[in-house]
């Protein structure tokens, strides 16, 4: 490498040496390879080791941490996510409080971003360094939930457990792996880039090593989509090639979210739980090889939507995924089969309005299976104000659906997402700790 003295010199010199090298190889350097970016400075042709360019606008995106509800539920899903389950090792309420304050402080810092604290170089660095010396918020959210096993450990936990919270049970099509199920604590990380999510996970595990032992984790992503012709953003596709989330309730409609997602006084939950939500996580393998060998018309019949547009099957040629199917005109299931995924999931009757859930899934790809197929599928995550009326009812209706041939749920769990943190003096779980103290 060339000797670099002043910061201004390096670009020019490095550029020159790369150009010289190219010339020496007999390769012409044209304006398209090295364009002039300033007096005496030439932009070098990108080299193999150059990092992909970060996007300054998306890096700076910040989701407010403080609020009545936790972030990471009704805000739009960014491209990267991780779901992780932990067991909590805390012997008493005081330790739990200390742990939750520490967790709150880490999430507040990580979601706001900022400079990494520097230490004496004789010590291990405080931060992993994988994002460099400045942490960009990058749309990061960390959503914290508590599982049934956490509440069942203590008398105060049992007394204050949310009414509908339970240990996830096996549905008929499940093949649950105990090592990938349940947990005392769930952490859902969402960010624009996977590195930001991983960085946050590592930071929290390092900071809370006294309290947390990881049970399982799964990273996932949301594929990008071009805006539709009318300017709207379509739903992301799952790994079966279908749009997923078309039928979701409107997450920008606050009244609707109060009804579907957030625990309100009408749910009859303990007072400390108001503003929280039930989180369901299901790790669902998709048998993609088999699916890709299934005729398109059968795929669409089993799913209940058109594959390309996402439109319901009773729509015309210009129908979109936002169109609502009218099952009253199809009482025998001739157009949209009673075995199809969307008709079972949401039959759209007045009674089934009470079973709406807010889905917020990620796709996952996790290496090869023993049979030589790809381990690929969906990290299904959904939120609801009532676990029984929400996911459990919906999944019970889905039992026996045509898609079961291509789905294999193998992990996950039920968690209660704590109410939000009101401001810098507050912490995650403060209402639960207060309620436990006044028992």
């Amino acid at each position: 490498m060339s000797k670099l003295n002043k910061p201004g010199d390096d670009i020019a010199q490095a550029g020159t040496s790369r150009r010289d090298l190219l010339k020496g190889l007999g390769i012409g350097v044209g304006a398209g390879v090295a364009s002039v970016i300033g007096a005496g400075q030439v932009a070098a042709a990108p080299m193999v080791g150059d990092a992909p360019k970060a996007d300054a606008d998306t890096s700076a995106q910040r989701v407010p941490f403080y609020g009545a509800h936790q972030a990471g539920i009704v805000n739009p899903r960014p491209a990267a996510g991780i779901i992780a389950s932990f067991d909590i090792v805390a012997t008493d309420l005081d330790q739990f409080e200390t742990m939750m304050k520490l967790l709150t402080a880490r999430i507040a810092f990580l979601t706001a971003g900022g400079a990494v604290a520097m230490r004496d170089p004789k010590l291990p660095p405080e931060d992993s360094g994988i994002l460099g010396p400045d942490i960009a918020p990058d749309n990061l959210t960390v959503t914290v939930g508590l599982g049934d096993s956490f509440f069942e450990k203590t008398d105060w936990g049992k007394a204050l457990k949310p009414n509908a919270l339970d240990r996830m049970t096996q549905f008929p099509n499940d093949a649950l792996d105990a090592a990938l199920c349940h947990g005392d604590l769930s952490l859902q990380f969402c960010a624009n880039t996977p590195d930001t999510a991983i960085h946050a996970l590592r930071d929290i595990m390092k900071s809370l090593s006294e309290y947390l032992v990881m049970n399982w984790m799964m990273p996932g992503d949301v594929p990008q989509a071009k805006p539709a012709a009318d300017g709207t953003t379509p739903s992301a596709r799952n790994l079966l090639g279908f749009r997923d989330g078309s039928g979701n309730p409107d997450s920008t409609d606050e009244a609707k979210m109060r009804q579907v997602v957030w625990v309100t006084p009408e749910n009859g939950e303990p007072g400390w739980a108001l503003g929280g939500s039930y989180q369901v996580v299901r790790l669902i393998r998709n048998k993609v090889e088999h699916w890709d060998r299934t005729p398109l018309q059968e795929q669409e019949r089993d799913f209940g939507r058109r594959k390309i547009s996402g439109a319901p099957l009773d729509g015309g040629p210009n129908a979109t995924e936002r169109d609502v199917p009218d099952y009253s005109k199809d009482p025998e299931g001739k157009v949209t089969s009673f075995l199809s995924h969307i008709r079972r999931a949401n039959p759209r009757t007045p009674e089934t309005e009470a079973n709406l859930i807010l889905r917020r899934p990620f796709n996952y790809t996790s290496g090869a299976l023993k049979n030589g197929q790809i381990d690929q599928g969906l990290i299904f995550i959904c939120y609801q104000a009532d676990l029984g009326m929400g996911f459990i009812t919906v999944q019970s209706r889905l039992n026996g659906e045509a898609m079961e041939e291509y789905f294999k749920p193998f992990g996950g769990g039920y968690f209660f997402v704590l109410p939000g943190v009101s401001g810098p003096g507050d912490y995650l779980g403060s209402t639960l700790v207060s309620a436990a103290r006044s028992l």
Partner: protein, 275 residues
């Protein structure tokens, strides 16, 4: 734990002389001399014990006494596990003494898989000593070589001090999951030896940092004590019950203790100004 601090004054004097002449000629921090010398004695005592125990262990195998060899397996290993940070400096010997089947593509069938765990496989899975006679001879030879090399070694201070955390990293990465002694399920013996070895180093250097950083030593003391209390529940007849008897809840508490000790002890070198 080692009962006697010094086996003989003569041994101690030789070690001290060696240290003064070799390792601290450059730029010794005088405070470190005494604990380093003590540690060298601790290691010497353990390697001496290791040679003696391995001789008995190998003799049982040569006599085709499977039951006796099984009984001697775990206690023989403890002296090795206590001094692992030093023993591991000799990568060739560590691999031939303490490799696990996972380290080989062909696993147990790999002919280069030797040492304690290959013998463990022979005793518990194959249930006979015929196949492992050669491995037993090799083990004794390796252990004697290790002893000689360690006796001639100048202990690098940063390796000794860093060893406290290194032992916890060992437990965190490969022991807590019960991978180490998978055929005999004697993992808790190794846990205990790793903790003892780590705590020995910490205790020797503790006086140098206790005044400067009372919160640190208080926390580390407490974590060692709590980990020790959990292990104690599983002690039986001077040893340990099977790893399978370790409850899930206790395994998780141990995991948090090990990780937190690794986190905290990783600052020990820096606190002592070592590079």
């Amino acid at each position: 734990m080692v009962a006697n601090t010094l086996k003989s004054t003569a041994l101690a004097l030789i070690l001290m002389a060696g240290l003064t002449a070799q390792s601290f000629a450059a730029d010794p921090s005088l405070d470190l001399v005494a604990p380093l010398a003590d540690y060298k004695i601790y290691v010497a005592e353990n390697t001496e014990q290791l040679v003696k125990d391995t001789e008995a262990f190998v003799a049982a195998i040569k006599a085709n006494d499977v039951a006796k060899a099984k009984a001697l397996f775990a206690p023989t290993r403890t002296s090795y596990e206590k001094i692992e940070p030093i023993a591991e400096l000799f990568a060739d010997l560590d691999s031939s003494i303490d490799a696990r089947a996972d380290d080989f593509e062909q696993k147990e069938a790999d002919p280069t898989f030797t040492g304690f765990h290959r013998i463990e496989y022979g005793l518990w899975v194959e249930g006979k000593t015929g196949e492992i006679q050669g491995y037993a001879d090799q083990l004794l030879k390796d252990i004697k070589t290790l002893n000689e090399r360690i006796n001639g070694l100048t202990f690098p201070p940063e390796v000794v001090v860093g060893g406290a955390a290194a032992l916890m990293e060992e437990v965190a990465a490969t022991k807590i999951s019960g991978e180490e002694d998978r055929y005999s399920r004697t993992d808790l013996w190794d846990f205990d030896a790793n903790f003892a070895g780590s705590q020995k180093i910490y205790t020797l250097f503790r006086p140098l940092i206790a005044d400067k950083n009372p919160d640190f030593v208080k926390k580390v003391d407490a974590n060692f004590a709590e980990a020790g209390a959990i292990l104690k529940k599983y002690q039986k007849d001077g040893g340990y019950v099977s790893y399978v008897e370790l409850s899930d809840a206790d395994r998780k508490v141990l995991a948090t203790k090990v990780n937190t000790l690794a986190e905290d002890l990783s600052t020990l070198r820096g606190q002592l100004g070592l590079n």
